[in-house]
């Protein structure tokens, strides 16, 4: 199982901040993850948007970053505080 953390507006899309999901064998990098998240959340294009970034185990990764089914995956829309 991978632990997913959704932030900002993506919490609304995913229906919550945190969930656990088993990654299918075909999803082992962030590129395939994007397509899969669009599908499981019935949100075409939302996670494929390159403005969405991922942090794997607290490290921001660029596409296509490798994934394991034991990772903590933060799913992050564009950031900006202040």
């Amino acid at each position: 199982m991978a632990a997913f953390l959704y932030f900002g507006r993506l919490m609304d899309v995913a229906g919550g901040h945190r969930e656990a999901r088993t990654l299918p064998a075909s999803v082992r990098d962030t590129m395939s993850l994007r397509a899969w998240l669009d599908e499981v959340h019935a949100a075409p294009g939302v996670f494929s948007d390159p403005a969405v970034r991922f942090a794997i185990n607290d490290e921001i990764v660029a596409d296509a970053g490798e994934l394991a089914d034991t990772d903590e995956i933060a799913v992050m829309p564009p950031v900006g505080g202040g």
Binding site: G8, D12, D58, P77, P78, V79, G81
Partner: protein, 148 residues
């Protein structure tokens, strides 16, 4: 003095503490950003800021390091709220101290541009029309690009 805070704080008190830290500096600049009662979208009744620790803190520390390398700062402080805030409450406080004013002004300006565009925070405004997540304005990205 770099911290995320989940309760209200007073910028003037933060400045007082910073001054004690910055004794001997010739120039001190402070910036505070506050929840505005009016946004582009209409009245704002509350603002919510979400962080992702430790990514958020690590990013702010890195921006502070860059500022310290780039300008001869003698002290630097960054306080940033998380959680739910009411109009008028301080969201962010940045203070810089240096021998001369140019370094202090530029470093504070740089840090705010970082915090507005790259710091790991997500922001939600609540008003009479409901809730909306707010992402940086084009103007914020343009400000950030000034620093190369």
């Amino acid at each position: 003095m770099i911290a995320l805070l989940d309760a209200p704080f007073e910028p003037a008190e933060a400045l007082k503490r910073f001054e004690a830290d910055a004794v001997g500096a010739g120039a001190i600049v402070s910036f505070s950003g506050h929840v505005r009662p009016q946004a582009a979208s209409g009245p704002v009744t509350s603002l919510y800021l979400q962080a992702h620790s430790p990514l958020t803190e690590r990013g702010i520390e890195a921006a502070a390091d860059t500022a310290r390398e780039r300008w001869p700062l003698t002290s630097l402080a960054i306080l940033h709220r998380t959680g739910k805030m009411a109009p008028g409450e301080a969201i962010v406080f940045v203070a810089t101290a240096s021998a001369h004013r140019r370094a202090a002004f530029e470093a504070a300006d740089y840090l705010m541009d970082y915090l507005k565009t790259e710091a790991v925070f997500w922001k939600k405004e609540t008003g009479p029309r409901g809730e909306a997540w707010i992402e940086p304005r084009g103007e914020d990205y343009a400000d950030r690009r000034r620093w190369g």
